[in-house]
């Protein structure tokens, strides 16, 4: 995800700035031709985006209003389901299943019965992992920002977990948390890490924090390095303590970078799939929304499309809240800081 967002973010910022400059010049013919040229230049990107993003999205939304194929009890063949209205959405949101006796609440052991628990698990994972990753990432970033011998070695070493593909990470932790694995041997315990809910969730959280903290650390480090050293010197001269310098200088100045890092991580964590899929297969209270979607795809596409759309809306709302109420402010001071540096 980060790779998709990042390249988009930079041109976005630039265009906005350019737009501002153009307005200052005033509306004239030159601007019009420039606008046309710009539209031409942007067109290929837009067309590609329309094909790879817009079309699948619209198709998925269309599908989400279609009934899944049903079985004709006489011939034993599947027949097309037809228009479903909001039935697929009602199925997920109210956990209503069709049973031989009519609509009823989905019995345990069906995918339909897991929507809200999966939502809860997803948010729980997101909150806990992002919390720890931010805390540890900040700590690591502060250390990496100092000048000392072997700093580059440390920075490279910190990156290792992030560089390992998630699937490999998941398999590594799967072995570590096996019953006769390293975790139990090391601490001389006999915990069934993947055998019950609490330990299974803890195992996934530990693996995720291990893997993604470096990402947080690097983004925060970038933020820390934007802070000019003079500010600290001035504060020292004024007699500010280390804690005061951290609270009144580091924290507010790093906040923009921090908010962006947290936003990325939250969006990333909300669609967590590979770690639980490989470590537990979604068993024992580790079924996230993404796992539910993939499981549903194997049973019925249309209902899965509805679930994807719901998942998208959930993630979108979270992203919107971040950008609107937390991020907007962050972006403003970020650009302010950048301006100050240019001058």
């Amino acid at each position: 995800m980060s790779t998709q967002l990042e390249p988009g973010a930079l041109p976005g910022r630039k265009t906005a700035r350019k737009g501002g400059e153009n307005k200052e010049v005033g509306a004239d013919r030159k601007e019009k031709t420039q606008g046309r040229a710009a539209a031409l230049l942007v067109a290929p990107t837009l067309i590609v985006l329309a094909i790879v993003i817009l079309y699948p999205v619209l198709n998925a939304i269309y599908m989400s209003f279609q009934q899944d194929e049903g079985l004709d009890p006489v011939t034993g063949s599947f027949v097309a389901g037809g228009f479903a209205g909001f039935a697929n959405y009602i199925h997920w949101l109210f956990q209503q299943c069709d049973t031989p006796a009519g609509a009823a609440s989905c019995p345990p052991g069906t995918l339909g019965a897991q929507f809200w628990s999966a939502t809860g698990v997803t948010f729980f994972f997101t909150a806990v992992t992002v919390f720890f990753e931010t805390l540890l990432g900040f700590w690591m970033a502060v250390i990496m920002a100092r000048t000392f011998r072997g700093r580059s070695v440390l920075r490279a070493a910190v990156l290792v977990p992030w560089a390992i593909p998630t699937a490999v990470t998941a398999k590594l932790w799967f072995f570590i948390f096996a019953f006769d694995g390293i975790a139990n041997t090391l601490f001389n315990t006999e915990i069934l890490w993947t055998g019950s809910q609490g330990p299974a969730q803890a195992a996934i959280i530990i693996a995720d924090v291990w893997k993604t903290t470096p990402f947080m650390a690097l983004l925060i480090l970038a933020g820390l390095q934007m802070i000019p050293a003079e500010v600290y010197e001035a504060a020292k001269v004024d007699g500010a303590s280390a804690w005061q310098r951290f609270r009144l200088i580091t924290l507010p100045l790093v906040k923009p970078a921090l908010m962006v890092a947290i936003l990325f991580r939250v969006l990333d964590a909300l669609r967590m799939y590979d770690l639980p899929a490989i470590m537990t297969g979604g068993a024992n209270g580790t079924t996230t929304l993404s796992i539910l979607v993939v499981n549903q795809i194997r049973v019925g596409f249309n209902s899965a499309a509805a679930l994807s759309t719901i998942t998208f809306l959930i993630i979108f709302i979270v992203a919107f809240i971040f950008v609107r109420f937390l991020g907007a402010n962050a972006v403003e001071s970020a650009s302010g800081g950048a301006k100050g540096k240019i001058k």
Partner: protein
């Protein structure tokens, strides 16, 4: 300026999240029954494509080469999928759904046959397309049959067998109760008594279905309706639940898939292991195996005689959209002939589907477990033959796991399993 930028961010964040949330969902709206396609191209001959999962022991390529040498005008192209069953399934679904005849002949896992047949993707193997299944083990044919029509030709088979320590128990147990009665021997030695595959995944369905079938119950009836809410089925699940509660099944067994159980057995830490035939050669030859000369094999223990194993293996199906079905049919016959099956067995340790091969002296010498496996497969029950298999297996896994780990009573688990299986088929 800040506000302007933040406005840029909203659609960007929207586009990105939208893309992420929905990329998983690339499938089209499937069209149901095959209709006319099943009666087209029946006499047509020409090049075809054969697809199956990863050919780990290199058995398919030599066979395809042999076929191609003999049929220069009807060459077969071999398309190899990944070695993950889920991915093979999804690949087949996508190709079949596209209806372009990409795959003419496909190797289909026994549990997928009903789904694909009900979707109308498989050519019924009758009339002109009939293949000869005389001498095949009945369970393998039953697993490839949907609504009384054969949709695939059994290719290879698989069944569960009981690995035991003959140094500790000279005669293997014939019944479940007998086996449980032997557990004090293991306890005295300080090792675990019995384990199968009881982590929450497909293996649990296999083990629970075996327990239910062995106790005289069934999972679904002929029409795919659930039948687990019966005394027999409950007794079957209860056997596992009770053994786990008593410690006869060690507590870590709920994290065991095939490999963890094998590791424990080879390490000498387990007296009885339910597993597939592949373990045999590894336990005999693995350098780390501590039980090389001290383990034996037996049919799964049952209620009074041998237990009812779940059936594994693959069958060959012809796509209903194949352009050259006559060639496809001949190729299927070639790939399931007795001679080819012998080659599967000797080259790839894949168990045959023809009953007489299990007593073939040359084969038994190479694969000493064949006679035991024969008993296992003769008593085998296919896993639920239902077009809703993915939903049914989930219903079995989640509810039986809850019962085994003690968060649900057996009665409640079976009531929920019954409802969940029926909900899967109610759409």
């Amino acid at each position: 300026m800040g506000i302007k930028i933040s406005r840029m961010y909203v659609p960007m964040a929207a586009a990105a999240t939208l893309a992420l949330a929905l990329t998983a969902c690339g499938g089209g709206t499937g069209g149901g029954g095959g209709g006319g396609a099943a009666s087209e191209n029946l006499d047509s001959r020409g090049p075809i494509t054969y697809v199956q999962g990863k050919d780990n022991s290199d058995v398919i390529r030599p066979l395809v080469d042999k076929w191609n040498a003999a049929h220069p005008d009807e060459k077969v192209t071999f398309n190899e999928q990944s070695d993950k069953a889920d991915q093979q399934h999804d690949d087949l679904v996508q190709r079949f759904q596209a209806k372009n005849g990409d795959y003419d002949v496909a190797s289909v896992d026994v549990v997928w046959t009903a789904e694909f047949a009900a979707k109308g993707w498989l050519q019924p193997l009758k009339d002109k397309m009939a293949v000869d299944t005389t001498g095949f083990l009945p369970a393998t044919v039953a697993a490839a049959t949907y609504k009384d029509t054969l949709y695939a030709a059994p290719q290879t088979s698989d069944g569960g067998i009981l690995y035991y320590r003959k140094d500790l128990v000279p005669t293997p147990p014939k019944t479940w109760d007998e086996m449980m009665g032997m557990c004090p021997i293991a306890k005295a030695k300080g090792i675990d008594c019995y384990a199968g595959q009881m982590a929450q995944y497909e293996g649990l369905t296999v083990n629970v279905a075996e327990a239910i079938n062995t106790a005289g119950g069934t999972v679904v009836d002929k029409d795919g309706k659930a039948t687990v809410d019966t005394a027999d089925a409950k007794a079957g699940l209860n056997n596992l639940v009770q053994a786990y509660k008593d410690g006869n099944i060690p507590k870590q067994a709920v994290t065991y898939q095939e490999e963890q159980g094998r590791a424990s057995f080879q390490d000498g830490k387990l007296m009885f292991l339910r597993n597939w035939p592949y373990v045999y050669n590894l336990a005999k030859t693995d350098g780390s195996s501590k039980v090389k000369d001290t383990f034996g094999i037996a049919p799964l223990p049952g209620k009074t005689g041998p237990g009812a194993s779940s059936l594994g293996g693959h069958s060959l199906a012809v796509s209903v959209d194949s352009k050259h079905k006559a060639t496809a049919k001949d190729f299927v016959a070639f790939m399931t002939s007795a001679e080819t099956q012998k080659f599967y067995a000797t080259q790839g340790s894949l168990a045959p589907v023809t009953e007489s091969l299990y007593t073939d002296a040359a084969l038994v010498e190479k694969l000493p477990y064949l006679p035991v496996l024969l008993t296992s497969i003769q008593n085998a029950v296919p896993r639920p033959v239902t077009p809703f298999y993915p939903a049914v297996t989930l219903a079995i896994q989640q509810n039986s796991f809850a019962a085994i780990s003690g968060t649900k009573s057996v009665d409640q688990a079976m009531t929920d399993m019954q409802a969940a299986i029926n909900a899967a088929g109610a759409k």
